[in-house]
């Protein structure tokens, strides 16, 4: 079976800023693929580019951009809007502002279904909305239909967003940091909900996050993004067991492990911030922040394989990490 979403060599440019530079990733049917990286490294832009939701003035190019085998590059706005909300849906980081304040939950949920399934009666659409609100764990779902977004908490609004995204039984759900704006207990609930939906409905999820704790719990596959490029991509277990890229290693070092980190020990961090990359930049974008940078890093870095389905972009020898640790000891 072919992959549900295939992205290869994706470039997105806003004027003189290259936000995404040749990113590639594939999401198989029914799998959860996590896209991780710091703020500003192009994760959200990649997702918006896939959905065709980039702001005006953005330029999108790709070697391959296909959904269920269908090339998205040549699709008109109209054809794209037929796909969005129907076969591919998206939820966002800001549950507080992502629902229209002027319409009830019921009205906003039913309009997606009635748009993509013309002929659906209002009553049937409302039934479906109630069913899904119940499915995402909202109590008294029938009552919620008449409520406005401002009457709901952030966690409830995100659940409504999820339920709304599921109205047309999409094959792919893109979730852009869906738990970042929520408090920790609610975060866990939403993640469990997404994992459950994924399992029960056979949904493919592209989950964007900067929280590696989330990744470890829900992802089948992880892509690490840095400065508009996917620098490492691997099955979750392989990535956590043997990260190959110094940036991935750096991210993992930033996660405090209870019992392992001593109280007075400083928490891990990667010095510096994600740079703005001008068009025409060559070489590894991480080299200015990398402790192991070498002259070769300024030239184009090829993609290398480190195992089945494990790829990374780095010039270092595969065993650099163990040797670095040995040198420290």
């Amino acid at each position: 079976m072919s992959a549900l979403l295939e992205v290869a060599g994706l470039h997105v440019r806003f004027g003189e800023v290259a936000a995404v530079r040749g990113a590639s990733l594939t999401v198989a049917r029914g799998e959860t693929h996590c896209l991780v990286g710091e703020s500003g490294c192009g994760k959200s832009v990649t997702a918006l580019a896939v959905m065709g939701l980039l702001a005006r003035g953005a330029r999108r190019e790709a070697e391959r951009l296909a959904f269920a085998g269908e090339d998205l590059r040549g699709l008109s706005d109209r054809a794209m809007s037929r796909l969005r909300g129907d076969r591919m849906a998206m939820i966002f980081q800001e549950p507080m502002t992502s629902l229209n304040p002027s319409y009830t939950v019921g009205s906003q949920m039913t309009e997606v279904l009635r748009r993509h399934r013309p002929g659906t009666t209002r009553a049937r659409a409302l039934d479906r909305a109630v069913e899904l609100l119940g499915r995402v764990g909202i109590t008294a779902p029938a009552m919620r239909l008449g409520q406005y977004p401002h009457q709901l908490s952030g966690g409830l609004r995100q659940r409504v967003m999820i339920a709304m995204a599921l109205m047309c039984e999409p094959e792919l759900l893109i979730a852009d940091e869906p738990t970042t704006a929520l408090d920790v207990t609610v975060q866990a609930q939403i993640l469990r909900l997404l994992a459950g939906l994924q399992r029960d409905l056979g949904l493919a999820i592209l989950l964007i996050t900067h929280d590696l704790g989330i990744v470890a719990r829900v992802a089948h596959r992880v892509s690490v993004m840095y400065a508009g490029e996917v620098v490492e991509s691997a099955p979750t277990a392989a990535l956590f067991a043997a990260p190959r890229h110094p940036y991935t290693r750096g991210l993992l070092a930033c996660v405090p492990v209870p019992g392992k980190v001593r109280r007075d020990q400083p928490l891990g961090s990667i010095p510096g911030v994600v740079p703005r990359i001008p068009p025409g930049f060559a070489g590894c974008a991480f080299r200015d922040r990398c402790a192991h940078a070498r002259p070769e890093c300024a030239a184009a870095v090829p993609r290398r394989a480190a195992g089945p389905e494990h790829e990374f972009r780095c010039t270092l020898a595969p065993d650099w990490a163990t040797r670095a640790e040995a040198a420290l000891a």
């Binding site: 939701l53 706005d77 969005r84 966002f92 629902l99 229209n100 304040p101 002027s102 748009r115």
Partner: protein, 305 residues
């Protein structure tokens, strides 16, 4: 919702009371009324006679209470010049002014809303700049001048529309256009700004992610939210149009409330002036209340406040 209504109504009543007081005081501030009623050739005795006859010799607060008590019963006094009940005079002319104001508002909205939306959708392109230039020109144009130009072009040269009077609906078109012109710039800017804000919002991104049609995104989702400030300003603009129709009614010889005000000011007919100010102000208060109610209907968050 009931609390919101009650509070708005209370505020409206307070404003109305203030307006009554001010419109009463304004006429008393403009010099000795007995002298102006008695006329330029009156003797001291005549003036005293008038003063007593009209009760102007009583203390101010007593005159005020008397006037308020009568006004509340719909008795706005009698005109010295027209020799008629002021209430009759106003009732006769109010429909003309109201029609003129509504025609003006409809024309203004019909022009301002589509152009404002267009400018927002094409933000920072030549379309946007052209629309805003039109708004600027509209804002800079004096209404009496525009009225005269229209009369010359549409009325005299082309002969499409009658240039004065109130005989038919055609008589309202030209003054309506002139009145609309003063309201178009602010309504258009507000629509544009509101739409730009709305279109950049997260819920519009959601609407696009849902694959909704362009029309639904623009009108159902964006305009509904952008319209909230526009409704408030439209009501205020209608108030301005009704009050500001004095100039237009005079230019186009429309015998509405504005024309009545102009006549009675020049004749020193103070009960009429006082009543016109009061009626226009009360309409204004009523319109503001209406705008609040419309906003509550448009914005569910307001209903809870």
């Amino acid at each position: 919702m009931a609390r919101f209504l009650l509070r708005r109504l209370l505020v409206a009543l307070l404003v109305a009371a203030t307006v009554m007081t001010v419109s009463f005081l304004l006429t008393r501030l403009s010099g000795d009324l007995a002298i102006s009623i008695a006329g330029p050739n009156a003797t001291q005795q005549d003036v005293e006679l008038v003063r007593r006859a009209y009760g102007l010799d009583r203390p101010l607060w007593l005159q005020y209470l008397d006037w308020v008590a009568r006004a509340l019963q719909g008795d706005l006094g009698e005109s010295y010049f027209f020799k008629d009940r002021v209430a009759n005079l106003i009732a006769e002319r109010l429909p003309i002014t109201m029609s003129l104001g509504l025609v003006g508002l409809c024309i203004a909205l019909a022009v301002a809303l589509p152009l404002g939306i267009l400018a927002a959708v094409r933000e920072n392109t030549w379309v946007d700049r052209a629309v805003m230039l039109v708004a600027l020109i509209g804002q800079a144009m004096p209404s009496f001048w525009l009225g005269l130009i229209l009369m010359i072009v549409l009325g005299l040269r082309l002969g499409w529309l009658p240039i004065s009077g109130t005989g038919s609906w055609q008589h309202y078109v030209m003054p309506g256009i002139v009145l609309a012109f003063s309201a178009i710039p602010s309504l258009m800017r507000l629509t544009r700004a509101g739409m730009i804000d709305a279109l950049a919002s997260d819920y519009i991104r959601t609407a696009r992610a849902k694959g909704l049609s362009r029309l639904s995104i623009l009108v159902k989702h964006a305009l509904r939210n952008a319209a909230i400030p526009v409704v408030s300003i439209a009501a205020v603009q209608l108030g301005f149009m009704l009050g500001g129709s004095i100039v237009i009614e005079t230019v186009f010889a429309l015998h509405g409330v504005g024309f009545l005000a102009w006549e009675s000011i020049s004749k020193n007919d103070f009960p009429v002036v006082q009543a016109v100010v009061l009626v226009l102000a009360l309409i204004y208060v009523g319109l503001t209340l209406l705008a609040d109610l419309l906003n509550a209907a448009l914005d569910p968050r307001l209903r809870a406040a």
